[in-house]
């Protein structure tokens, strides 16, 4: 299944190519405007074509991601799903209070993380051993903060607060506490 690394790799390639292209265009433009030229008019067709291009680009980005990034539709409609497993987590005084049982997830399970803050605004994110992010959400006090995720790869994840909650918040890290097991070549409990 498409995961965050794959999405971000795609984004890196697309955005890097765009950056190189626009830098080259601006470089070319900067050289050309110091020289005279035959045609000094800018056709209005070109202008309106550019407007249409921007509209298509702006809208299509969201349509493409909605249909290709698997968690998007699930996230917006998460009330329609029944999770295989739910973890209730509380945050208070810059500490995560995890469930007493270990956070073990079987491969191909749909898991709901329901995180409650009793004081400040925090963040909640899962990170791989190489520090790359699987997902994150904000944890706002007085509101339900829940995220649904489908796990299909064997991995051990670290929980980390992804929102600033004062200097004490930088140590809100629970290392290697979420384990996904049971996939081919998976981690064993």
């Amino acid at each position: 299944m498409v995961d965050s690394n794959m999405v971000l790799n795609g984004q890196t390639i697309a955005y890097t190519l765009y950056c190189l292209a626009i830098i080259l265009v601006m470089g070319w433009f900067s050289l050309r405007i110091t020289k005279g030229g035959k045609s000094k008019k800018v056709n209005t067709t070109l202008f309106y074509s550019f407007v249409v291009f921007l509209v298509i680009l702006g809208v299509s980005l969201h349509i493409i991601t909605y249909n290709t990034i698997p968690w998007t539709a699930m996230d917006l409609n998460r009330g329609d799903y029944i999770p295989d497993r739910t973890f209730n987590i509380t945050v208070e005084n810059h500490k995560f209070k995890l469930p007493e049982e270990e956070l073990i997830i079987n491969c191909h399970e749909l898991v709901l993380f329901d995180v409650t803050s009793n004081d400040l605004t925090y963040g909640f994110g899962l990170f791989r051993p190489d520090n790359t992010m699987l997902f994150q959400m904000q944890v706002v006090p007085g509101h339900r903060n829940d995220i649904l995720w489908f796990f299909d790869k064997p991995e051990t994840y670290t929980i980390r607060s992804t929102e600033y909650s004062g200097p004490r918040g930088i140590y809100m890290i629970e290392e290697d506490v979420v384990k996904v097991v049971g996939c081919d070549g998976a981690l064993t409990q």
């Binding site: 965050s4 008019k41 921007l54 600033y164």
Partner: protein, 543 residues
Amino acid sequence: MSFTNTFLNGEQGLFNADTLTPMQKITLRFVVVGLVYYGFAVIEGMIMRMYEINPLPFVNEDQFFAILTAHPLVGIFGSTYAFVCGAFLFLVPYLMKKPLWSIKLANWNWILIAIGTFIFWLAGFISHYSPLYTLYWPLPADFSQFSVVGGTFFIVGIALVMVGAVFFIINVFKTIVYTPEGWDKQPGGALLASAIGYSGLRNLLKKKSKQKEHLVSLPVAAIARGTVDMALNSGIILFTGVLILVYMVGAILGFDLKETAVDALLYKNWFWWGLDLIADGLVLIFVAGTWYLLAMLITGKNVYMQNLARAALLVELIVSWTVWSHHLLSDQAQPAMLKVVSGEMVTAFELITQGLAFFITLATLWMARPLKMTNELKFLLGGLLGFALAVPAGIMQADVGLNRILHNTQWIVGPHVHVAVLIGLTMTLYAAVYVLFPILTNGAKLYSQKLANIHFWFHLIGGIGMGAFMGMAGLKGMLRRTLYVEGEFNTYMILAGLSGALILLAFLAFFYNIVMSVGLKGVIGIFSPAKLKTKDLVPQVSD
């Protein structure tokens, strides 16, 4: 001339502060304040860049986050607001060919920005008050982490800057509508309608023969519309400041109000609505207006597709009121409808409005070629490139799917925020400074073109490089607003730090160049009372 002589009297002794009008002096005071606080922000930025590589022995973690809190506020309020207020208080009367409504109010404007910024910076420096500019509730009132007295001074400092901003807003609108002494009665209502776009909107519904002419020029319309957003965000920030102050005063008097009725999510929506009127409102509108003005000044011609440019500014103003939800895409309690409509769809309009401004400016330049590659032109092109890089980065992160893995990473603050601010916004402001320099100094000469070139290339390469390396770290999972004490992302942070050093060197080159151009006596003279008693913007040349 000897070095000492140039340092004291400026390049060829051409700058004489005694020849300046009160308006020129005020504008230059704004510029000096803006430059000084830009220097603060750059040095703070470099301290944080170094700290991200290896914690510095003379800065502890609390101090680091106090710097992180002050840095964007000093940069935006202390520096950018000063530049923008100074430039526009000069340009609105300059373009409308009438005196500024109140020189006294303009003086209080820069004084309040200067003092207010210093107070909140100092409060953070001494007390380490560090709820960040986001002020997520109830962090600003968390007195188990922060000093209540330090916080009180911090908020008072911000409030003073906002009062300064209100003075600017009053002065801009009054200047547009008022009738100067000895003039025929000005059509104040019609001027205001033209400035904010109401008459343009009505024209759309009328036959061509019945359409009314625009009473104010395109750059003045841009300034007026950006100022509407400034008025709204000043109100929001002032109100929020008062709210926080109530909690602080309560704490000082021994009452803990932390658990009372403020809803954290509602507050977050409210405050982001206000903050976004800066980031996605007045900055984009002011920048587009400045691009048009610069293009007109550089080419001596009207802007390409002027009426559409005007309409796009109005669309941008309305869009800026409805996009705040892209900051709450990772807040699960935020309604999905708001995420999709405001956070994604309306936000995508910024690609269109800013794209139009980009195209129109380039087309205006293209039609006037060949052009001389002056400092203002090259910095304008740099500013255009900055937004061409940063706006698409912002549109990508304003997507429900992508935001899930980008929110609060270094991607947000690198390729989007820093490239937009440092390259897009700051290079546009530098272009304005270079183009206004001879007008404001009555023909003073720039000390060194080589230093101006160094300024340009170091700033451009440093800014893009820093944004790029921060972005790469973000894509590898590095969060913003935290510390990695085991060097997890050091390769990227070292490269970002080296790029940051280029920005610092660029600033030093620019600062030195400006001081050597006007001389130390000239800088001091800017702050002495004007000897010319006139409301004219520049001295009148007698035949």
